[in-house]
């Protein structure tokens, strides 16, 4: 009887859940927005991580990527540019441009940005240059994830 006399309201809101600890995403973040962190990471390897507060690893990232790029230049590798009839050079150009200002500066400074195909270490140099650019692209994504609170 008492149930029919006092039916529960049909649209009664559920009781609020107990207070949960603040998730990392809910904590207000300091530092640059994700896009700015990614752009900084492209400008120079490790700069994006430095901006989001990962000071120690940023120096190591800068050292690794810069060393890989300079070794690629020393091995007389090629700084790729798109060539007609060679579609894969578009991907290679994208990879090399991932190294940011290192790539731009090397193109301006180097007397032979196309590398020396007759050199014994030419293929190694190309691999090192492409790898340096791709590593920096990964660093851009990582800096973005850190800045946006995903990591």
């Amino acid at each position: 009887m008492s149930e029919s006399a006092f039916p529960p309201p049909p649209s009664a809101p559920p009781p609020p859940p107990p207070a949960a600890p603040a998730s990392p995403a809910a904590v207000p973040r300091r530092g640059p927005p994700g896009l700015v962190a990614a752009i900084l990471a492209w400008v120079f390897p490790g700069l994006g991580h430095f901006a989001v507060g990962r000071r120690g690893t940023s120096l190591l990232y800068a050292l690794i990527v810069t060393a890989t790029f300079l070794l690629g230049m020393s091995f007389e590798g090629r700084l790729y540019s798109p060539e007609p009839g060679q579609p894969l050079t578009i991907l290679a150009t994208f990879a090399v441009y991932g190294a940011g200002l290192l790539n731009v500066a090397a193109r301006l400074i180097s007397t032979n940005p196309s590398g020396s195909i007759l050199s014994v270490t030419y293929e190694y140099g190309c691999a090192f240059l492409l790898t340096a650019g791709l590593m920096n692209l990964l660093l851009m994504l990582d800096a973005y994830d850190i800045a946006t609170g995903r990591k």
Binding site: Y61, I64, M73, F75, V120, L139
Partner: protein, 64 residues
């Protein structure tokens, strides 16, 4: 360049240098604890060097 006098000209040493840089980079990127990073670095470095030697050994009979 200045580095050209410092870099190795031996094929194996260049490959080992490449493996070192790659392993160091991904150990930093994928792990956060120091010990975990060291373990992953060793795993990646050995996988790259030993794997390359194994593939080279398998390809040795070719193209004869």
């Amino acid at each position: 360049m200045l580095l050209s006098s410092l870099v190795p000209a031996d094929h194996f040493l260049i490959m080992a240098l490449y493996a070192f840089l790659i392993s160091f980079f991904f150990a930093l990127l994928w792990r956060s604890e120091k010990r975990e990073r060291a373990v992953l670095f060793v795993k990646l470095f050995l996988a790259l060097v030993v794997g390359a030697l194994a593939v080279a050994w398998l390809m040795y009979p070719f193209p004869s």
